[in-house]
């Protein structure tokens, strides 16, 4: 659509400088639509953002703040998406923020009544970043449906902290904040599961890695970018360009201010 660039600029403006001040810790909140993610956002930040049982509701710019153990946290609520494979603008926004916005921690909120489908997004997030916490929400609904989840085992399988919550009732939120804080301040580290693909794909990745490492350096997860290139994701170039352009502008602006 003709206003794609407008939207992108708006998004990057919102997402690239979310902090109150430089020492704030930025946390991204991702998840499938309909997982109670916004309830968690509201509960943590005390903000009043609407939470509807309506898949696909877009919220473009939701930032909230909270404090924990003396640190200031900025929580960015990303649009609810089924995946990060950039099929729609929402997915691109979410992906771009997790990837380029470099949040200290990405919290993936999942629906305990439908964990299998929700894990899809979690695994995709883990391909982009190691700094993730899984939140299994709606545990009361799950219990009502006769579903119980072995959270510790899930944590072992995924290699990241897993916290169970019933956000509606405020249960589990302290533990969630704790896990976020521990990961953000590097009190704990993660060793997330990595997915292996077919031999042909893995070989192509191996072939592309040296050049990618040269081009991207430390900045982006090389394996993840390789996969995007292989699957023909056109949006990745645009995102890289936009994000770094925005960053340049911010830098230039900051430099100009100093003179």
């Amino acid at each position: 659509m003709e206003n794609n660039n407008n939207h992108h600029a708006f998004i990057h403006k919102s997402y690239s400088s979310p902090k109150n001040n430089e020492r704030d810790i930025v946390i991204a909140l991702a998840g499938n639509p309909n997982t109670g993610k916004s309830t968690i956002f509201n509960s943590l930040t005390g903000l009043n953002q609407h939470t509807g049982n309506w898949p696909g509701k877009t919220v473009t710019n939701s930032k909230g703040y909270y404090q924990y153990y003396g640190s200031n946290f900025t929580l960015v609520d990303l649009p609810g998406t089924y995946s990060l494979l950039a099929n729609s603008q929402d997915e691109q926004i979410a992906r771009d923020f997790i990837c380029f916005g470099k949040p200290a921690v990405t919290v993936v909120v999942t629906d305990g009544t439908n964990l299998e489908r929700n894990l899809n997004l979690a695994l995709q997030v883990l391909e982009i970043t190691n700094n993730a916490v899984l939140c299994v929400n709606l545990l009361d609904e799950a219990e009502r449906k006769g579903i119980s989840i072995l959270l510790d085992k899930l944590s072992t399988e995924l290699g990241i902290p897993v916290v169970g919550t019933v956000a509606r009732k405020g249960q589990g939120l302290e533990k969630l904040k704790e896990a976020i804080w521990q990961l953000a301040t590097k009190k704990i580290s993660t060793s997330p599961i990595k997915i292996k693909y077919s031999q042909e794909i893995e070989e192509m990745i191996k072939m592309m890695t040296p050049q990618l490492e040269h081009l991207l350096g430390e900045q982006l997860a090389v394996r993840w970018v390789a996969l995007r290139l292989l699957e023909g994701d056109e949006t990745i170039f645009n995102s890289i360009e936009q994000y770094h352009l925005a960053k340049q502008q911010l830098l230039e602006g900051a430099v100009a201010l100093c003179h």
């Binding site: 003709e2 206003n3 407008n6 939207h7 309909n34 009043n48 609407h50 939470t51 509807g52 049982n53 309506w54 898949p55 696909g56 509701k57 877009t58 995946s83 494979l85 729609s88 964990l115 299998e116 489908r117 894990l119 899809n120 695994l123 995709q124 609904e141 009502r144 449906k145 006769g146 579903i147 119980s148 989840i149 072995l150 085992k153 899930l154 399988e157 599961i193 997915i195 292996k196 693909y197 077919s198 794909i201 192509m204 592309m208 050049q211 990618l212 081009l215 991207l216 900045q219 996969l227 290139l229 292989l230 699957e231 023909g232 170039f237 890289i240 360009e241 770094h244 960053k247 340049q248």
Partner: protein, 464 residues
């Protein structure tokens, strides 16, 4: 150092070197991720036979059934509208009383300060009155409608509405989700436009945005109900009058829906041509809405919205209206002059110059159209309302109104351009001046066409 354009080029070249079919790679990637999800899920989930799914299924059996599905939908819509209109009545009157009392106090203050008349006029009779009007008319219905709507939303019912209606919207060139954006429009068209974000296809989203105004919002309902009650209800005699009036309003709403579908169809075949998008809509499990939370937050949100709008838009509108009613040029107020200028055009549409002017001045907010009209007819210096419907009817008839005027006013109100808030919202959502302009032009053109045609036909067949 950040990436340069040159490096991006190299990245692009690199991707082109891939020997693998990108579609197949994508399939593989998604499959592998799902396989992994399934494996992990198997290991960590313990499932017992569940009863809740049955409740969901039973609810859906009724709500999407052939027999009950549509009647329930219509019933719910009617119920929500009825509760809104009836429930807002008393609070609106109460607020009006409070504001009127406040106005008297202000007038006393101004007199005490020996403030000039014109200042009192602009600030109290113009700005304050404008504010008071918008708040007392808009706040109560919105504070009722939106919590009700949100309640249905949180319940999980709304996707079922899209599910039930999709076929009809697809035939009209759009998407079942448009039914929901239209429903939001009943509360407020600006909110309806924002709701269009749930439509994925840009083309279909635009169609939904452009046609949202054909659903009458809370600001227009009082006007529709009042005119319907006076001219059509009263005609049927005291006992049936409310029923007839209600029927007329329902009829208007149905006309709005019909015009929406027709215009959507026309747009999808001309300006917004394209292929139908996909449905792929998730029907979430039913959830118990947190009633108190929904209510409190909704009321809070709506109150803020109405107050903001009142201050930003209604206040200046009130001031301007007062000025136009009280500045005299050669013995006539500006309103009288403009109304005279618009008279031929108005008559052609089965209306009159004052009505057209009232709609134009009502651009900032639909709810001030009727007060402005009454003020103009009475050559009064400030907006007002008449205490009884009978008095209002007499006033209108004395100014040449017939059933045709009433009918065309209802239709014009339904079909005309969106209010300023809605247009600003459209500009923000589409980012395009072109579409915002079209959002103004298309409904207005239709409104003019319809009223003109009806007026001419009525005169032709001597029905007057």
């Amino acid at each position: 150092m950040s990436l340069t354009i040159d490096k991006l080029q190299q990245l692009k070249l690199l991707s082109q070197q891939s020997q693998l079919d990108s579609d197949l790679v994508r399939d593989q990637i998604v499959s592998e991720i799902y396989k992994k999800s399934a494996t992990i899920a198997d290991k960590v989930i313990l499932k017992k036979p569940h009863k809740k799914l049955d409740l969901d299924t039973k609810l859906d059996d009724i709500l999407t059934s052939r027999i009950f599905g549509y009647p329930i939908m219509l019933l719910l819509l009617g119920l929500v509208l009825w509760i809104t209109v009836t429930g807002a009545n008393y609070p609106s009157q109460l607020l009006a009383k409070i504001f009127f009392g406040g106005q008297e106090q202000l007038t006393v203050l101004f007199q005490y300060l020996n403030a000039p008349d014109w200042l009192h006029g602009i600030l109290v009779l113009g700005v304050y009155r404008g504010l008071a009007w918008v708040v007392s008319v808009m706040l109560p219905p919105m504070a009722i409608f939106f919590p009700l709507f949100t309640f249905l939303e949180d319940l999980g019912y709304l996707p079922r509405v899209a599910f039930n209606l999709d076929r009809f919207f697809r035939k009209a060139g759009t998407h079942g989700k448009q039914a929901l954006t239209m429903s939001m429009g009943f509360g407020c068209n600006a909110a309806g436009v924002i709701a269009c974000r749930i439509i994925d296809s840009p083309r279909e989203k635009l169609i939904a945005i452009l046609t949202n105004n054909f659903v009458p919002c809370n600001g227009r309902f009082p006007t529709l109900i009042t005119i319907a009650a006076i001219f059509f209800g009263a005609a049927a005699g005291a006992i049936y009058s409310t029923y007839i009036a209600s029927l007329v309003v329902v009829g208007i709403v149905l006309v709005g829906i019909a015009v929406t579908l027709l215009t959507s169809y026309a747009l999808s075949k001309t300006l917004l041509r394209g292929v139908p998008s996909t449905f792929t809509l998730e029907l979430p499990p039913y959830r118990k809405p947190q009633v108190m939370r929904v209510f409190i937050r909704s009321v809070y949100d709506r109150t803020i919205f109405v107050l903001k709008r009142a201050i930003v838009i209604a206040a200046p509108a009130g001031a301007i209206t007062w000025l136009m009613a009280n500045i005299q040029i050669n013995g006539s107020s500006i309103i009288e002059i403009l109304a005279g200028f618009l008279q031929p055009f108005g008559l052609a549409l089965g209306l009159d110059g004052y009505i057209i002017l009232a709609f134009i001045l009502g651009l900032p907010a639909n709810e001030i159209v009727l007060p402005i009209l009454i003020m103009s007819y009475l050559s009064q210096g400030s907006m007002l309302e008449l205490d009884s419907l009978a008095a209002l009817k007499n006033l209108l008839v004395a100014n040449g109104w017939t059933w045709l005027t009433a009918l065309n006013l209802l239709l014009f109100s339904l079909l005309h351009f969106p209010c300023a808030t809605t247009m600003l919202t459209i500009k923000k959502e589409t980012g395009s001046l072109k579409w915002t302009a079209l959002a103004f032009i298309i409904p207005t053109a239709i409104a003019i066409l319809v009223t003109f045609t009806i007026a001419q036909m009525a005169r032709l067949f001597g029905l007057l």
